[in-house]
């Protein structure tokens, strides 16, 4: 869920102000502006805007999505890479072979790769990187990705053998995550402030609180990117983000923080507004430990009380795709199960009556973290629950509190959050340890099957079964897939429309004129 992904922004100015700025900006621009389009940077460079500043720049030592949004594919590369459409491509490993039992992966590494400090990338670096991630004192935020790895050894300078304790069909995908990028032993400890990778862009400097500067790495092994330099600026305030674009200080906001500003920007020919997909399933989490939420009839009642369309229109200004289970709707294995929890207040009331709950007698807490999808969505959900006789007590919390009280302390009834990790349906097998506390042996069996199944069609069938189980059990309220809404200069090409992982891959970005 990455508190990280769409984490806190100092949103004290409010969305009304954003709307005001957009409206006023358009007026002022129309009357005062120089007709010449401004550009934030020379034609072979780019200024990107991001809401959150990364805490540091080492993707192997932190969960913050903002780290990957700066360095993934730009500064750091992994053995594999995840492309804009979510497919797994070779990265620093040119190809790989899998043993028949699925327990041994042999990675054949590229021979022409240099780190930005001039040292060569070899199998020893790959062993070091993987070993560092699985060590007992590892601080890798996604250590679970590497859980199946038993050992990693270098057969020769450019051959890496990875032995698994059990088959893991997703290994090449997992190794494409930012948490699995390749680092060198000499620079691993300083990557937090001065990252040294193998990517097409190298780190120049970081003015903390303001920006990170990158420039093209002349000795890059692959095709040289069209851009010679890139600056990533951190602009937490939505109104300031709009002003930055309008004033030409920023060329692109790949994840625009204020959906309410999109219609006005869409009408402006200087900008391209792009609406794509993310891996963020937004859910109304329910605490199964707390009666009456342990009663499936009550959970189903809550699910039927929710009007997803009204929610998406109200909280997301129409952007977002309804979901019926915990699965990205654009994934080939997705099944549309929204009809299982269609908006039906009468049915919700009947289910509550069946569970012995008198109208108006049930009060639940609703903890809302800072992102606008949660804060705005929470108000709308509370109103929809009121229609079926459930009182939701809205409690706004910051991320730190949410993690402490809701996620770890399990001290909540309902909460709204977006789970942004790709293919994270397996969080439902974590049982009582996990914050919603769902336990179903059938579901766990499906997940166990998935781990050892490599055939695509068979995997899709298993994913379908898993989605259906979650929808039938009404584990959580499944709301919508978080959209990726980007705004950039209309002359820019090659920025990602969709976000299969959190990244701003600049390798294919160029200006048309």
């Amino acid at each position: 869920m990455s508190p990280t992904a769409s984490r806190p922004t100092a949103r004290n100015l409010g969305s009304a102000l954003v709307a005001l700025v957009v409206a006023a900006a358009c007026t002022v621009t129309a009357t005062l502006a120089d007709p010449r389009p401004a550009r934030a940077a020379p034609p072979d460079s780019i200024v990107l805007g991001m809401v959150l500043e990364p805490p540091h720049l080492d993707p192997t030592a932190g969960a913050a999505g903002a780290i990957d949004e700066v360095v993934y594919a730009n500064v750091f590369e992994g053995l594999t890479r995840i492309a804009h459409d979510g497919t797994v491509l070779p990265g620093l490993a040119q190809r790989w072979d899998v043993s028949d039992d699925g327990l041994v992966y042999t990675f054949h590494l590229r021979r022409d790769v240099l780190f930005h400090d001039g040292t060569a990338f070899t199998a020893d670096d790959a062993v070091f990187s993987l070993q560092r991630a699985i060590d007992t004192d590892s601080v890798n935020a996604q250590k679970g990705l590497f859980a199946a790895i038993d050992s990693a050894v270098a057969l020769d300078g450019y051959t890496l053998i990875v032995a698994l304790s059990h088959p893991q069909a997703l290994l090449p995908f997992n190794l494409g995550w930012g948490d699995a990028v390749m680092v060198a032993p000499e620079s691993a400890d300083t990557n937090r402030t001065a990252p040294v990778g193998t990517g097409p862009f190298r780190f120049v400097r970081w003015v903390q609180g303001d920006r990170v500067e990158l420039d093209a790495f002349p000795d890059y092994w692959g095709e040289a990117p069209a851009l010679k330099a890139a600056t990533v600026r951190f602009i937490p305030d939505p109104a300031a983000a709009v002003a930055g674009l309008m004033a030409g200080d920023v060329d692109a906001f790949p994840n625009m923080p204020a959906p309410e500003s999109l219609p006005a920007l869409e009408a402006d020919p200087r900008f391209t507004v792009s609406v794509g997909t993310t891996e963020g399933e937004t859910i109304l989490a329910m605490n199964h430990r707390r009666p009456p939420l342990d009663d499936i009839r009550v959970r189903r009642a809550i699910a039927h009380a929710i009007d997803r369309r009204a929610l998406i229109d109200g909280a997301m200004f129409g952007y977002g795709t309804p979901i019926g289970s915990h699965f990205a709707p654009h994934h080939p294995a997705a099944v549309d199960l929204t009809s299982l929890s269609a908006h039906d207040p009468e049915r919700a009331k009947a289910l509550l009556a069946e569970a012995g709950i008198a109208p108006g007698s049930l009060t639940l807490t609703l903890h809302l973290p800072p992102p606008s999808y949660a804060r705005r969505g929470g108000e709308i959900i509370a109103a929809q629950l009121a229609e079926v006789g459930i009182t939701a007590k809205v409690i706004p919390v910051e991320w730190a509190q949410w993690l402490d009280q809701v996620f770890r302390g399990h001290d909540y009834d309902l909460s709204i959050v977006s789970h942004t990790e790709p293919l994270d349906i397996d969080i439902y097998e974590r049982g009582d340890d996990y914050y919603f506390g769902y336990e179903n042996p059938d579901f766990e069996a499906v997940m166990a099957d998935l781990r050892v199944t490599t055939d695509t069609a068979a995997r899709a069938a298993l994913y379908g079964r898993a989605q259906r189980l979650l929808a039938e059990d009404a584990v959580n309220g499944f709301l919508f897939q978080l959209p990726k809404t980007g705004v950039w200069d209309a002359r820019l090409r090659g920025l990602w429309t969709n976000s299969p992982i959190q990244a701003n891959d600049l390798t294919g970005v160029s200006w048309t004129e």
């Binding site: 990280t4 300031a240 309008m246």
Partner: protein, 321 residues
């Protein structure tokens, strides 16, 4: 005078000690685990424990408090939990933004407010007075973040004379850096100037009625000369008092203005650090801000002595004798 200084220094030290205790305790009871914030929801318990241990968070609270206060006294500050760099290294470039911003705003506010306030007082009841008071009423009423947005709309989005936000750094040259600070300075200064102008006006009005002003006029000074040589200096004490008080508001104002203009200053650093539960940065910054306010109040007290010879003589003669 020495006794006065010693007493003030002692009061400052006690204030800082109290501030350090309060901030430490508040951060202890505040929900939120820095390790969990850094590693997120995918992290496993053993990973979290490893990170907490590397941050020293597994040690008892009193031990960490003593370590911290000891470090403050000897100048050994710990590393930021999120950025993993020494707090001073993090702070220095931030101060290079917030410091000049606050000083420029204060200077601009005084440069606008004092002449306007004196002018309004001298022309009491006339059109100039009404205009100055009307404008200052507006200035007091307009919140600085709104003024900031308005300035951005006109000068950055519309006219494109100045950047809408961000800071190129002083190494980019004084020109671009000052251009980046221009709108924030104005947004911060105008509401302050409005308050100061009103205070100056009423202080001068009060002075105008004093006996020594009549004497000054009687010995042949013109109205303006009397005001300049005798009036203004006597009117300055309340003005300086308000300036000292306003300095704390200026610090709070920079937090908001730095957000509006996305300036990498101390204000945004503290907001960010609280959100990320960067306990190390928050506690050091709070003590620093408390120290700054304490020192400014101390300077205000000293300036009374400079402005008013009676205080100077009384203080020095009475106590040192």
């Amino acid at each position: 005078m020495a006794w006065f200084l010693a007493r003030r220094a002692m009061a400052l030290a006690i204030t800082l000690l109290a501030a350090s205790l309060v901030v430490f305790c508040v951060l202890e009871v505040l929900p939120g685990d820095p390790a969990l914030l850094i590693l997120g929801t995918g992290a496993r318990e053993d990973t979290l424990a490893a990170l907490r241990a590397s941050m020293g968070l597994d040690r008892p609270a009193w031990e960490r408090y003593l370590d911290w206060v000891g470090g403050l006294m000897t100048g050994h500050l710990a590393n930021s939990l999120t950025y993993d760099v020494p707090v001073l290294a993090l702070l220095a470039p931030r101060l290079a933004v917030s410091g000049p911003l606050a000083l420029m705003a204060l200077t601009l506010a005084v440069a606008l407010a004092v002449p306007l306030g004196v002018l309004a007082a001298a022309r009491r009841g006339r059109a100039t007075d009404t205009a100055v008071m009307g404008l200052s009423q507006l200035g007091v009423a307009v919140p600085n973040f709104w003024l900031g947005l308005l300035l951005v709309l006109v000068f950055a989005v519309g006219l494109r004379w100045l950047p809408a936000g961000g800071f190129p750094g002083w190494e980019a040259g004084a020109g671009p850096a000052l251009a980046a600070l221009a709108l924030p300075t104005v947004a911060l200064a105008l509401p302050q100037a409005a308050i100061l102008a009103r205070v100056t006006r009423s202080a001068v009005l009060e002075v105008l009625g004093e006996d020594y002003m009549r004497t000054a006029r009687a010995k042949g000074l013109s109205h303006a000369e009397a005001l300049w040589r005798h009036g203004l200096r006597n009117a300055l004490i309340p003005v300086v008092t308000i300036m000292g008080l306003q300095f704390s508001f200026l610090l709070a104002g920079t937090i908001i203005i730095e957000t509006v203009f996305t300036l990498p200053g101390v204000g945004r650093l503290i907001v960010q650090a609280i959100g990320q539960r960067d306990l190390v940065v928050v506690r050091d910054l709070v003590v620093l801000l408390a120290a700054t306010v304490g020192v400014v109040n101390f300077l205000v007290d000293l300036s009374y002595a400079v402005l008013d010879p009676r205080l100077r003589q009384g203080g020095a003669g009475g106590r040192d004798a």
